[in-house]
């Protein structure tokens, strides 16, 4: 499809998601090699900039999850060095990685997202914000989900069923981030919609007005419903995936439409994955968060969704790679 290029795959790093990132990176490398590109694998560390300056790749393929890879840090570096890179730019990365910012933006734009408040550790220490907790409890009701604002993985995600459980949930979440999101718990089905730049938009033939493509919906189904094990649903291998999710056609269409509008609202490029909940009692869809560097491992959701849409892994990687140059226009 495109000419052979010299592509640096950025992976690893020091985030808590290092290992997943190494797997994503290795998987992408294999595909890029199969596609005929010259691949340079870079485990991100203190030598990164020097290595990039030395190697001068045509593009950087970002397979870094967690803080540096998704919060715009690496993207800013690549902008400064002048190397095209895959996926979203620094601003979109910042908006998506900060779950609290993303939720404020969604709320302002009228995108349904579960009610929430946010607390910073400093405001508890210095502004007496602990006194707010009972107000927050009253406003949101239990159960509550507490999340570090910028942690991409399940680490630090806590569940509080009562005010008794809230302080330790907050302390746990503050171990990962100074800023914490307190969100109403939506009980229902866990959905994810990956969004991929359309073929036309990402081809090298020139700009196109084609909208990005929402891939088939994936549902994460916990193996056993155990309220106590809310965290285990995230942490422990207790989940199977169904793709495409078995939903009413209207629900599928709505989920995909929501994902596309969030993708555009947050200014994502190339690829992103939007996580949603389908609320059991209301049938409403709620957007939780957006991941700008979705996993590329064998079991990750994006490759599964692409596969369901008839896009092979190699094709997927090629399209993500093309986003590096699409941005430049």
């Amino acid at each position: 499809m495109t000419a052979a290029r010299k592509v640096a795959v950025l992976k690893g790093g020091r985030s808590l998601e290092r290992k997943v990132s190494l797997r994503s990176g290795a998987h992408a490398q294999e595909a890029l090699t199969r596609l005929g590109h010259e691949v340079i694998a870079l485990d991100v560390g203190p030598e990164l900039v020097a290595e990039l300056q030395r190697a001068r790749p045509d593009a950087a393929f970002i397979a870094l999850h967690g803080r540096e890879g998704e919060d715009g840090t690496i993207q800013q570096l690549l902008e400064a060095i002048g190397i095209p890179y895959t996926g979203s730019g620094p601003a979109a990365c910042t908006r998506c990685t900060d779950k609290v910012l993303a939720k404020y933006l969604m709320r302002e734009a009228g995108v349904p997202t579960p009610d929430f408040h946010s607390v910073r550790e400093e405001s508890i220490k210095e502004l007496g914000a602990a006194a707010l907790l009972s107000d927050i409890e009253r406003a949101l009701g239990f159960p509550l989900v507490v999340k570090p604002a910028s942690q991409g993985s399940a680490l630090g995600v806590k569940f509080a069923r009562s005010s008794e459980e809230l302080p330790s949930a907050l302390v746990g979440a503050f171990s990962y981030d100074q800023k914490v999101l307190i969100e109403r718990y939506v009980e229902g089905r866990d959905l994810a919609v990956s969004v991929l730049e359309s073929d036309e938009a990402s081809s090298s033939d020139g700009p196109s007005s084609a909208r990005p493509l929402a891939l088939p919906v994936v549902e994460a189904v916990p193996r056993e419903e155990d309220f106590y094990d809310f965290q285990s649903r995230y942490e422990i291998g207790m989940t199977t995936f169904v793709c495409p999710a078995e939903l009413e056609p209207a629900t599928t269409a709505r989920a995909q439409e929501l994902a596309l509008s969030v993708y555009e609202l947050l200014g994502c490029r190339g690829v992103a994955r939007v996580d949603l909940m389908l609320e059991e009692r209301s049938g409403e869809l709620w957007v939780l968060e957006t991941n700008v560097v979705p996993g590329m491992t064998e079991t990750s959701l994006l490759p599964q969704a692409a596969d369901a849409a008839g896009i092979s892994f190699d094709q997927l990687v090629e399209r993500v790679l093309a986003s590096a140059w699409a941005r430049e226009r």
Binding site: L16, E17, R18, K19, V20, S24, H65, E121, I124, K125, G128, A130, A131, L133, S134, E137, G152, S153, A154, L155, G156, V157, S162, S163, E164, E165, L166, P167, S168, L170, V171, G172, A173, F174, S175, Y176, A192, R223, E224, D229, Q231, S232, R233, Y234, E235, I236, G237, M238, T239, T240, F241, R273, D275, N291, P294, G295, T297, T299, S300, L301
Partner: protein, 497 residues
């Protein structure tokens, strides 16, 4: 399998700028380099062909002789044909599972249990019933209740896994009365016991207690060899883990299965290191004493000093915010914080401060019990790092406790819906009851206490066995029920992105 999120975090702590109290390491820097070179030269020069060749699956007789010698030092007499040499003690756990466990089979283990056994048990899809320990190890009455409950479901455990000496990670030692009773129970019910004893010779205080193997062998009608206890030993902690040499002493039918399993796994353990051990055990000092046991004495002095350093540092930097075991030997201290502090989260914070430990969850099959405990290694850590490491953890802990206090205190004053949760940090000498499960009402400890009375006055007067601050019979951590079986193919969602 257990939380791989935590494993990923542990991997991040393996960096040179991080003080790691997380390892299971002995200190190998004390071994005389000249002796090492001389022994290697001796093996290379004197046994070239043998060292470079395959060896017998059960081990070379030269190495087996050393095992017999170490076992004698443990006051346990074994025949050389009851021994199989393995690639580290870890292989024994693997081979025993391989020989005995089908998916869904039950293993009974201590709670907490050896974190390195957890993935092995998981890989064989065993269900593990963990029995919560107190200051004297596994309470046998609780074990019997678990066995009864399993029996009522028509299930019999394939074996009982225990580390009686300076347990990893709990740091406690099983009392003599319980050892005797455990062997009795095993014999009454015809259950196999896997006695994991890597640290038995690393005792810094108190009298050595008999191995379960020797107690079984002394039982009537056994002909002097144990028929229910499988003994696991290793050269890792008394000499070197890099040699990868351990052993099992086992009843004949089990031994045959282990041998078959080992053939499939690796044919034989390295002849190079077996010959090295053999050469080492033949070394005699100027006074004619065995060099290996002199080195052991040296290690004991070193580790004892480091244990004391760590206990002092804990006193100073953890103080009232935690309670911890006071091991009479071994490599580890197990510290338990108030139960609103999750040590996995604490580790995320601590690693930014450049210090690491093993979160308690790693010692539980279900991945969430033991959440407020941590394992701390003192043996393989330089003195200064012990002090600095504990200081850093203490600082992070203090911050979390303060934050927790602020958060819960204000809920209380603001008249939140539910009374504030925050308990004052457990005072020393006091124990929280098990958080859930209801396994361990006070009466149970009372019953167990009767057994304690049989201890000699001398024994009773001795420093509390293991748990420094705990009342006897107090649980080490949460009681754990049989975990659900987990499917290996399953994947996590946000974890796996």
């Amino acid at each position: 399998m257990k939380s791989s999120a935590m494993r990923e975090m542990m991997a991040l702590t393996e960096r040179p700028d991080v003080i790691s109290l997380a390892g299971g390491l002995p200190d190998t820097s004390t071994f005389d380099p000249r002796l090492y070179a001389a022994l290697m030269a001796q093996v290379a020069d004197g046994s070239t062909a043998r060292a470079l060749q395959y060896g017998p699956t059960e081990g070379m007789s030269a190495a087996v002789e050393c095992v017999v010698e170490v076992m004698a030092a443990e006051a346990t007499s074994v025949d050389s044909d009851e021994v199989i040499i393995t690639t580290g003690g870890q292989q024994v756990i693997d081979l025993v599972c391989k020989a005995l466990i089908d998916p869904g089979d039950v293993i009974v283990a201590e709670a907490p249990t050896y974190p390195g056994a957890v993935p092995t048990f998981g890989a064989y899809e065993a269900q593990v019933a963990q029995i919560e320990m107190d200051g004297e190890g596994m309470p046998i009455d609780a074990l019997e209740r678990t066995l009864d409950a399993l029996q009522a479901e028509g299930r019999t455990p394939k074996f009982i896994y225990t580390i009686p000496n300076f347990q990893n990670p709990g740091g406690v030692t099983m009392s003599l009365a319980r050892r005797r009773r455990l062997v009795e129970v095993a014999r009454e019910r015809e259950l196999l016991v896997l006695e994991d004893n890597p640290y038995g010779l690393l005792r810094y205080e108190g009298e050595p207690l008999p191995t379960l193997y020797s107690l079984d062998a002394e039982a009537e009608g056994t002909g002097g060899a144990a028929d229910l206890v499988i003994y696991l030993g290793t050269f890792s902690k008394i000499l070197s883990p890099g040699l990868r040499l351990g052993w099992a002493v086992a009843p004949r039918p089990v031994l045959e299965k282990l041998n078959l399993g080992k053939q499939g796994s690796d044919l034989c353990s390295s002849p190079v290191t077996q010959l090295f051990v053999s050469a080492y055990f033949k070394q005699r000092g100027a006074d004619g004493s065995a060099v290996w046991s002199d080195y052991l004495e040296e290690l004991k002095l070193l580790y004892r000093r480091r244990r004391d350093l760590m206990l002092e540092a804990l006193d100073e930097h953890f103080g009232e915010r935690a309670r911890w075991t006071r091991p009479q030997g071994g490599l580890f201290v197990w510290a338990t914080l108030e139960d609103h502090i999750d040590t996995t989260d604490l580790l995320a914070h601590a690693r930014r401060e450049g210090v690491a430990f093993v979160p308690g969850r790693a010692a539980y099959m279900d991945g969430h019990s033991g959440a407020s405990s941590m394992r701390l290694n003192f043996a393989g850590v330089p003195d200064a790092d012990i002090r600095e490491g504990i200081r850093r953890i203490g600082r992070v802990l203090a911050q979390q406790v303060r934050l927790l206090g602020t958060l819960s205190g204000s809920l209380k004053s603001a008249g939140g819906a539910v009374p504030a949760p925050h308990r004052e940090p457990a005072a020393k000498g006091e124990r929280e009851p098990a958080a859930k499960g209801g396994h361990e009402p006070v009466t149970e400890h009372g019953r167990e206490h009767a057994a304690e009375q049989q201890r000699s006055p001398e024994e009773s007067r001795r420093a509390p066995q293991g748990v420094e601050s705990a009342g006897e019979g107090a649980p080490l951590a949460d009681v754990v029920a049989l975990p659900r079986r987990q499917d290996q193919e399953s994947v996590r969602r946000r974890r796996d992105r």
